[in-house]
Amino acid sequence: MMKIKKLMRDIELLEKVEELSEQSPNACIQCGTCSAGCPFVDEMDVLPERIFKYIVLDEVEKVLENNTMWICAACYTCSVRCPRDIDIARIMEGVRQIILRADIDNVDVDEVDNIEELPQLAVVGCFRKETG
């Protein structure tokens, strides 16, 4: 909890996201194409395009204190459809990285109870996306 509060106080959100993703949330025209095609949108607290708006408005809490970036599985469906050619999957990765680099993980290996049943690439992939 402390870590996230400190992160939210210190972060230059838009700048950091742009630096990590090499994409500009500013280019978003809020057309909603990304959300419309995202297969996981029902699970997200906040729609992808709202996240981009909040990043631009520097609404740090609204970006970092929800589940959207963790639900995004980097399927790139939105990235190939965005009319503004924004690689949205990279922005989501940028937001994940900001949190992970503040030493806040989203998955704990001890809580995965069926690890031997899972294919190796699922485990490697999950830990790569959700731990720092």
Binding site: T77, E93, Q97, P119, V124, C126
Partner: protein, 284 residues
């Protein structure tokens, strides 16, 4: 090419949960006169691509693999796994496009020789595409009584700079399946994500994806789903237990091997395809 055949990168999953894919692919490719020759040594690719601008660290493993190919005198590497294909391909493209990254990479690789950026990554489908005549010739008995739902998932089609076919309306897998004589459903869900690595800690999310994808195939009358990714395979196969459906999920090389009359083991299937295959007269 140095080796007689295709220089093959397996990745970790092919050696365990995905071994049915590897074994059947080995047999099929041998039969087609395009044998896969496994690299002497390789590293886990990392399964997912690191998308951050400054993250060169996570490009090291895929590039080390490419470097091993380079040092073996090979300029092409072939994968079976869709995720390995995607990661290796994105990493190799990045090194081609960003000279600075290639330079930083070679500093990291310190003791190793420099990676020169010239190794091309291919997927099984790239090879099969050139062998359609041979595929057709090798079919013993067309699988006419079988209705198949082709399924691509994400990693062969997106992002677009690594896509092996049209991102929204691919047909490469269908073009192979038609040669086996099967009937195909128009699978609207074939490019949708299976839930990917959420299978580790959010199986509820994957179950919903499976319900949607498999449910569509079932309603359209599919007897089986065919694909080429070991993670999609696991998700669509294993997580059907949370749904009302029970449709076998096969790797395309398993179905191809069966159509060629080759003997294959099918060990890692939660939904056993045997009774379907017997019913359709494909396997005794």
């Amino acid at each position: 090419m140095m080796v007689e055949g295709h220089y093959y990168y397996p990745g970790c999953t092919m050696k365990e949960k995905g071994s049915d894919y590897e074994k059947s692919a080995m047999k099929v490719m041998e039969q087609l006169g395009e044998p896969l020759v496994e690299m002497e040594d390789w590293y886990c690719c990392g399964a997912v691509q690191s998308l951050s601008e400054d993250d060169i660290m996570h490009q090291i493993a895929p590039i080390r693999t490419l470097l091993m190919a380079q040092e073996a005198g090979e300029d092409e590497v072939v994968t079976l796994c869709d995720m390995c294909y995607n990661v290796l391909k994105q990493a190799s493209e990045r090194m081609k496009e960003k000279e600075d990254d290639l330079e930083t990479m070679n500093e990291f690789l310190d003791e190793d020789p420099d990676y020169e950026g010239g190794v091309e990554i291919y997927h099984l489908f790239h090879i099969l595409k050139e062998k359609k005549g041979e595929i057709e010739e090798n079919v013993e008995e067309p699988l006419e009584d079988l209705v198949v739902a082709p399924y691509y998932g994400c990693m062969l089609l997106r992002p677009d700079h690594v896509a092996i076919d049209n991102t929204e309306d691919p047909e490469i897998m269908e073009s192979f399946l038609k040669l086996l004589g099967v009937e195909l459903i128009e699978n609207e869900k074939r490019t949708e994500c299976c839930g990917s690595y959420h299978t580790v800690n959010r199986s509820d999310i994957v179950e919903k994806r499976v319900e949607d994808i498999v449910g569509y195939a079932a309603r359209e009358g599919a007897d089986m789903i065919v694909l080429s990714c070991p993670l999609c395979h696991f998700n669509l196969d294993y997580h059907q237990r949370a749904t009302e459906f029970e449709i076998p999920v096969l790797y395309i090389t398993e179905l191809m091997a069966l159509a060629f009359g080759l003997d294959i083991e099918m060990e890692h299937h939660s939904i056993d395809p045997t009774s379907l295959l017997e019913e359709k007269g494909i396997k005794e």
